[in-house]
């Protein structure tokens, strides 16, 4: 087994296990206690924890600092990086900074547009795009050079991930877009939340037909619904989300106090169905502000205990 980094995620995936990743959002304050607590809630049930980077363009404690807090607690963070707020100088600088703290995973993203957040009047940067950020990290790691060409004496050894949204339009380029991210250097993929299983399977079939599942590890995104209200909101207002009417109907059919339990069951059923498919290498469980439910989902989906890797 050839490893490019010290990433636990890389080891688990390359050993052929189904990986489980999760995600925590940093606080809107300078107090790290919340993110540390969230990390400890889920640490025995997941292999690594993504830390979001000012998600939905709302200003928060920075992803890098939150990753360092988790790393100090002995947890394995995935540094999410969006290209919305930093140019290539700042991005490369933060990549070196992350590696200097032993952070071994990065997820390269565009980032939600700033108009969704708390500073809609902000300038956006987009010096490079998410595809080019993947290239940048791989270039720094594998060539040992900055984009500008200068040598990096101790290159950053990061396992490089990217996002994929099988539900965004135009659908016909969604498999080619994944191929493009793989060509850019993506080693693992975490997808948008999967609710429309049929559409996801259609996309995955296209991925498998091109043999792309043998070139990258794919972790479908799973987010449990807490209520029918959340399902309706996500269907209506969250960009790139595909929430089928049947799912909303199913949640509507149970009493309000039982809806969150039903949401967990739907998530577990989705994992059980998808984990049998070729091209699925694990799951990215994003229980938004509901991290305490991650252990239950992982256990009920038959993904516990987590494999131990040296």
């Amino acid at each position: 087994m050839e490893l490019n980094t010290d990433s636990k995620l890389e080891k688990i995936l390359k050993a052929g296990h189904l990986a489980v990743t999760s995600e925590c959002g940093p606080p809107r304050s300078s107090d790290p206690a919340g993110i540390i607590k969230k990390g400890h809630l889920i640490k025995d049930h997941v292999d690594c924890i993504n830390i979001t980077d000012n998600q939905t363009s709302v200003t928060r404690l920075c992803s890098l600092a939150a990753c360092i807090h988790l790393k100090r607690e002995g947890l394995e963070p995935v540094l999410q990086m969006v290209v919305r707020d930093r140019n290539r100088i700042a991005l490369q600088s933060d990549i070196l900074g992350a590696a200097s703290f032993g952070i071994s995973n990065v997820l390269c993203l565009s980032g939600d547009h700033q108009s969704f957040g708390d500073h809609p009047k902000a300038q956006n940067v987009f010096d490079i795009d998410s595809m080019q950020l993947i290239q940048t990290v791989r270039h720094m790691r594998d060539e040992g050079r900055f984009l500008g060409g200068d040598e990096i004496k101790v290159p950053p050894r990061l396992f490089v991930g990217a996002a994929a949204n099988p539900f965004a339009d135009p659908f016909k380029i969604r498999v080619p877009r994944l191929a493009k991210k793989i060509a850019a250097g993506a080693e693992f993929i975490q997808t948008q939340c999967v609710y429309n299983l049929e559409k996801f399977e259609l996309w995955l079939q296209g991925v498998v037909d091109r043999g792309l599942h043998e070139k990258v590890f794919i972790l479908p995104g799973i987010t449990p619904m807490r209520s029918v209200g959340m399902a309706k909101y996500m269907a209506r207002a969250v960009p790139g989300m595909d929430v089928p009417a049947d799912l909303i109907k199913r949640l509507s059919g149970v009493p309000k106090e039982k809806q969150s339990e039903e949401g967990i069951t739907i998530a577990v059923e989705a994992i059980q169905r998808l984990k049998e498919l070729p091209g699925v290498h694990g799951f990215h469980i994003m229980a938004i502000e509901w991290e305490e439910k991650v252990p239950e989902i992982v256990e009920r989906a038959g993904l516990y205990p987590r494999p131990q890797v040296a």
């Binding site: 919305r84 290539r88 565009s110 980032g111 939600d112 547009h113 108009s115 969704f116 956006n124 987009f126 010096d127 490079i128 795009d129 998410s130 595809m131 080019q132 290239q135 940048t136 984009l147 996002a163 994929a164 949204n165 965004a168 339009d169 135009p170 016909k172 380029i173 080619p176 877009r177 191929a179 493009k180 060509a183 850019a184 948008q192 960009p239 790139g240």
Partner: protein, 220 residues
């Protein structure tokens, strides 16, 4: 062409009301097409300012004038006398014209009546849409003739992002997803396979980032 929009009238009034004489000066090319800064609009704006002055009992002599283009010296000949005699000028040109007037008349206050909004086209009567940001390194040849810099809200060179839905951008259902348009064009041209070519990292030194740009023709 350059598209501009007149500033709110109150903002214009606040800028100029302290003067005793003002020339409202139109620019009759780009910003006349969008009916915001032409010589006709200068005449109307001058009338509105005179009315406001009466309402507020402010003494200010407001005259109007205009030329074809406020961004080149030769066009100024016909207005030279008027401008030299002006205490202040309210220019209805784009930001280029305002600066050109200020440069020509160093001791005359010049105010912008317009916000210069974008470089755009006229796809339908009365509709103006942004199409270029003068980034200095055109990629339209590989994007099917659709500009990702001016038309993608994240100016992605390898789009679309995950927020593209039903041909629209994640930030507004009023905005077309530029990358949906790129993909449609590539398909129409029989070049959809080109979608998988990764666009290289852009050289932004040819853009605003490299500082004010200029070029000089040899032999002039």
């Amino acid at each position: 062409m350059i598209v501009g929009e007149q500033k709110p009238f109150d903002e214009i009034w606040e800028m100029v009301k302290g003067h005793r004489q003002l020339t409202v000066f139109g620019c009759n090319t780009c910003v006349a097409v969008c009916h915001q800064g032409g010589n006709k609009e200068a005449e109307i704006l001058a009338s509105l300012l005179r009315m406001r002055a009466v309402q507020e009992e402010v003494t200010i002599e407001v005259v109007h004038g205009g030329i074809e283009r406020q961004c080149e010296h030769p066009f100024f000949e016909s207005a030279q006398e008027q401008l030299v005699a002006s205490e202040a000028v309210l220019s209805l040109a784009c930001g280029i014209g305002v600066q050109f007037v200020a440069g020509k008349y160093p001791s005359t206050p010049v105010y912008p009546a317009l916000n210069t909004t974008f470089l755009g086209d006229v796809p339908a009567d009365g509709l103006f849409t942004e199409k270029c940001q003068a980034c200095g390194d055109c990629v339209l040849g590989v994007t099917g003739g659709v500009c990702p810099v001016s038309r993608c809200c994240k100016r992605l060179f390898n789009g679309p992002c995950g927020g593209s839905a039903n041909g629209k951008c994640e930030i507004s259902k009023e905005i077309d997803c530029a990358w949906q348009l790129v993909v449609d064009r590539l398909e129409a041209l029989g070049k959809l396979d080109d979608y998988e070519k990764i666009a290289p990292i852009k050289d932004w030194s040819k853009d605003r980032a490299g500082g004010p740009r200029s070029f000089k023709l040899e032999g002039f």
